[in-house]
Symmetry: C2
Subunit: 337 residues, 2 copies
């Protein structure tokens, strides 16, 4: 069993801020990134937790990301906020635009925030939960690098294109989901490769477009969308809405950051907020409570709600702190030298 270290929320926050500021991130960027990775760590989403700081620092050192970028806010239309992240991390852009998005959604009923030219490496659920925590419904989507073949195709074209949704529940934790539109996360295939294990043949295909159980062949081939042609259609919708609709690139036009600084993982993100009070006036509270009938019925037949494990982890962290692999904490500490 590997050695672990117990950190309080405040200790995790402090470690993250130190790593980021030591690597040139402005205080505003360091705070925004820290809020996201500490929230993920708190909920035991390890892949989007403090571990992400390693890739974040690497991307900054490769010279792709502007660690001091000031997001430019533009009031595009009564229902549309646009923010140019100016080659900075998406998270500060999101936080900068959020108040205007919420205000517009409350006035108009629904509103959209288009984030352009951002580096995106975080989970989407902290963003949609920032919206549902204010009593609105949040939807977020973003394209990623082209790792996924469209249904019926044989070559990488679509991103793993995640979709997130959060619905506010008065007096309770929100109904939130956040999933990649690929059959599995790319990291899952990486983990199998490292462990020397084969993968199920429906996860991916090799470079010749044939189903493969070899994770190495899969990583140099193409992943599949979840749910066949339906997942493929949904993934395409995400590329279109978080790409051309907001004047940004398609997944296949992005590239991983590289040491030469020529890789440009920059792309867009679309966030939508809907306001129940604007749709329903004073009936909103009744209908929001009525939605609980659906959640109760799901639980009552033994099924789970999407973020249930995460909320249970959040409660554990609140009581006992967060347990991190010592190797990760050591590696993060080397990034402060």
């Amino acid at each position: 069993m590997s050695e672990t270290v117990l950190l309080s929320l405040e200790e995790a926050r402090s470690l993250s801020l130190t790593v980021l500021q030591h690597n040139g991130f402005s205080p505003a960027h360091a705070e925004a990134i820290t809020r996201s990775v500490v929230a993920a760590q708190r909920d035991e989403c390890h892949s989007h937790g403090l571990y992400r700081l390693i890739g974040c620092v690497e991307t900054a050192r490769n010279g792709g990301m502007d660690t001091q970028a000031l997001p430019l806010l533009h009031d595009q239309a009564p229902g549309v906020v646009r923010i140019d992240a100016q080659r900075g991390c998406s998270l500060l852009a999101f936080e900068t635009g959020l108040p205007m998005l919420i205000d517009k959604a409350r006035r108009q009923g629904l509103a959209a925030m288009a984030i352009n030219r951002c580096f995106h490496f975080s989970a989407l659920w902290p963003e949609v939960e920032a919206i549902s925590s204010q009593g609105l419904i949040g939807i977020a989507m973003t394209p990623t690098h082209p790792f996924v073949a469209p249904a019926g195709g044989t070559r990488p074209l679509l991103g793993t294109n995640p979709l997130a949704f959060s619905w506010p529940r008065p007096g309770g934790t929100p109904y939130t989901f956040d999933f990649a539109t690929s059959e599995v996360a790319r990291g899952e295939i990486e983990l199998h490769r490292r462990a020397g294990e084969s993968i199920p043949s429906h996860w991916a295909m090799d470079a010749q477009g044939e189903p493969t159980t070899d994770p190495t062949a899969a990583l140099s081939g193409a992943m599949r969308t979840f749910g066949g042609h339906k997942g493929s259609a949904l993934s395409t919708m995400i590329e279109l809405l978080a790409g051309p609709l907001i004047g940004d690139v398609l997944g296949h036009e992005t590239a991983p950051a590289n040491i030469e600084g020529t890789g440009k993982p920059l792309h867009g993100e679309l966030v939508i907020a809907l306001c129940p009070q604007a749709f329903l006036g004073s009936d909103a509270d009744y209908h929001l409570r009525h939605a609980d009938t659906l959640f109760d019925n799901i639980l009552e037949q033994g099924a789970r709600l999407p973020s249930q494990r995460r909320f249970e982890a959040r409660e554990r962290t609140r009581r006992y702190g967060m347990s991190l692999p010592k190797a990760l904490v050591d590696e993060l500490n080397t990034l402060t030298n």
Copy 2:
């Protein structure tokens, strides 16, 4: 091979109008329903074509649907149109609200139309294509009767909850999809039952919650969502947005129309329109054309676009007319007596 009859678009339109008006539908409802079923028949979507008139007339005769209902339009918020269908068919409500939805989306950037208390039996793609034909992006969703178990559950709770999307392509047919969030359409299981064929075990479960290959057991059990827990989450989102958000019922609160007239298949529908010009100003044309890169890349690797077969059928119909089973035309003619 079964006998077929060739009808022109005009003949199909005339047959549909006659059936509907003879069965008490107001001219406005008859026109709106006819536009939808003839469009589906033109595109060789037989299940949503003239065949739907049989169920439509049956629902009206059962006394559930108000065939004369006047939809009530309400300008709810700068970005929200609400329409009370008043127990009438959804299609006239959609057409009544569409101009206000488009106008709001052009002004605000995006807008929503909430249709309440409607009977819904049509495909969603003609609606989202009515939006994309005006240069906007259309999204539509509606809950249906509870035939589907949530992932991890064993009993029917969710509707087959379809989602439709249409993206305008300058000078070409739009990128459109319209799919149920169940693994297959309920009609597909019905067809297997009639043909005495077994079904794949991942389509549905029996009344005890066990996987089944028996279509009869499946129809009295629960269907599965497509794509496991991701499809289940998407289906739940549709119930919430086209239910409580618009002040309407959840899937499990609807019931099929019955001869006693006590069944109430009434529910809501949510339609969203987004306007590229409002998001992008004069750059919109460039980015809409740029989106074609994605479609070209999908086709180039041998994959298909979701509505490709339908557009090919549309072209066939334009040239040669539409071929219908004689038995269907005969049955429709009996409904005019």
